[in-house]
Symmetry: C2
Subunit: 325 residues, 2 copies
Amino acid sequence: MKEAVLEILRHHRGTFISGQELSERLGITRTAVWKHIKTLQQEGYRIEAQPRRGYCLQEVPDFLYPEELRAGLSTSCIGRNIVHYHEVGSTNTVAKQLAERGEREGTVVIAEKQTEGRGRLGRRWESPYGKGIWLSIILRPRVATDAAPSITLLAAVAVAKAIKNFCGLEALIKWPNDILVRGKKVCGILTEMKADMDVVEYVVVGIGLNANLEVQDFPEEIRDKATSLRILLNKKISRVNLVRKLFGEFESLYNLFREHGFSPIRSMWKEMNTTLGQQVQVNTLTSVYSGLAVDITEDGGLVVETKEGTKVFYGGEVSLRKHLN
Amino acid sequence: MKEAVLEILRHHRGTFISGQELSERLGITRTAVWKHIKTLQQEGYRIEAQPRRGYCLQEVPDFLYPEELRAGLSTSCIGRNIVHYHEVGSTNTVAKQLAERGEREGTVVIAEKQTEGRGRLGRRWESPYGKGIWLSIILRPRVATDAAPSITLLAAVAVAKAIKNFCGLEALIKWPNDILVRGKKVCGILTEMKADMDVVEYVVVGIGLNANLEVQDFPEEIRDKATSLRILLNKKISRVNLVRKLFGEFESLYNLFREHGFSPIRSMWKEMNTTLGQQVQVNTLTSVYSGLAVDITEDGGLVVETKEGTKVFYGGEVSLRKHLN
């Protein structure tokens, strides 16, 4: 009901609508209307209330509220159900817990701040309040376990396309799924899954996108490697609009993947990548390999021509040689 | 302490030991001794109690009790910690819950009966009371996600070796990990895992071994495809001794895997397999392929030469053409 009140206020944004009209249109008492207004104000909506004129929405807060994201969202699955936190340990951890309890595909966990944001290989991911896009998407693809790496690459393509189309920046993908703009990282993706030998039970795709972070929001030691859209564009962006865009791109690609498999995604990934054709170093859990990155396989592995022959990697850390310290 | 009482009784099996001696050796009261004896009797141990002579262990119950399995167990990791149930939904489900809560590697969940025993591809697995070996092993290998299929094949080799060495039967492996004796299935394995893009968090290996089932324990429709060690040998086997043997074989192979990777396991698997060199049909989630099974890859995939070219499978259902209905 709160969402319905907001919906009407949004329609009349900048003009007043009376409590009487709201109460009639929604079939609730004027006291109930007033309570919802109160809640919205506490959530950060600036709503002016005047005795005879009623209520007027003047400013929506800069938060990734489900009501904000859903207004004008074009998807039918991704982001139709959103769980929002002002602060959370890690959105991936919460999403996995929800997935364990049977939460449906497309559900998104989103937070203004993560206190224990994680990147790949157990690394910390800085997630300051209200500045980034920290979210996790629950997927339940009916695919075999070895198709899971494809989903990771799919997520990278979705983010790169969203950045490209929304910000006009050239976003490139470093295998498997770091998103770089002008050689610096603006987004990391952490995919986690549960599976048996034959089929994936669920995948959680965690996306950490540096939207409105400023230079001082980054720890000093990563300032030469990481950046944000705000820094790149030299202006604040609308996180709400970017997330909506991201959900749209993600859903399109995911539908494509379900219908036609990884092959079309692979082509897009290759078009947007900055890894193939480069000398790379791959750190796996057990060894370090160097060589020329030549291709990705039909199931998303990175093909590297090393001195010991051609090798395929599905995980591990890849450094582009030109960026090696 | 109950286990210590049992230990002493076991040492004096068939002869009497006084309550006084037990109480002195264990430093507990005679009443405490008597209570432990009572508990053991309730668990199915046949212990005779005579007023002046004391206690005499006459028969141990035919259950897979931790105390029984651990007595004389040679492993240092697999099966050192055992959780036993008389009845449970599914040992894999319980093991996964324990793994989620951080339970250590090598812990085994074992049940006399499963009410919701599951095989691969969501199929029901018949698990009647006290007749089979229904257990799940928690592993935390420090390996990349794509190494997980290797663990599945490792488990198959362990079971096949245990059957061979304990029963003297020629056990063969059908890819990936069904164990057949004389063309009929005696064991199925269901591996489940949780992982992120780079590393496995845990693997649960579920083993369903038809030890002492009789013909009437199998549903009629699978009697031509499934059998038990008891039927094959025409005598009851000691499940406790077989499980101990299995833990030993499993641990040896797992140590080998940790030190030398999948390569030595792969050689053993190939020696004991009944799939390579056969015409096979592979049902994946999306398609059906036919062809000649020619090899397994370095990461455990099945290589099949099909009309559409050489394909590698990591899951799916394989039928040997000669067994096709």
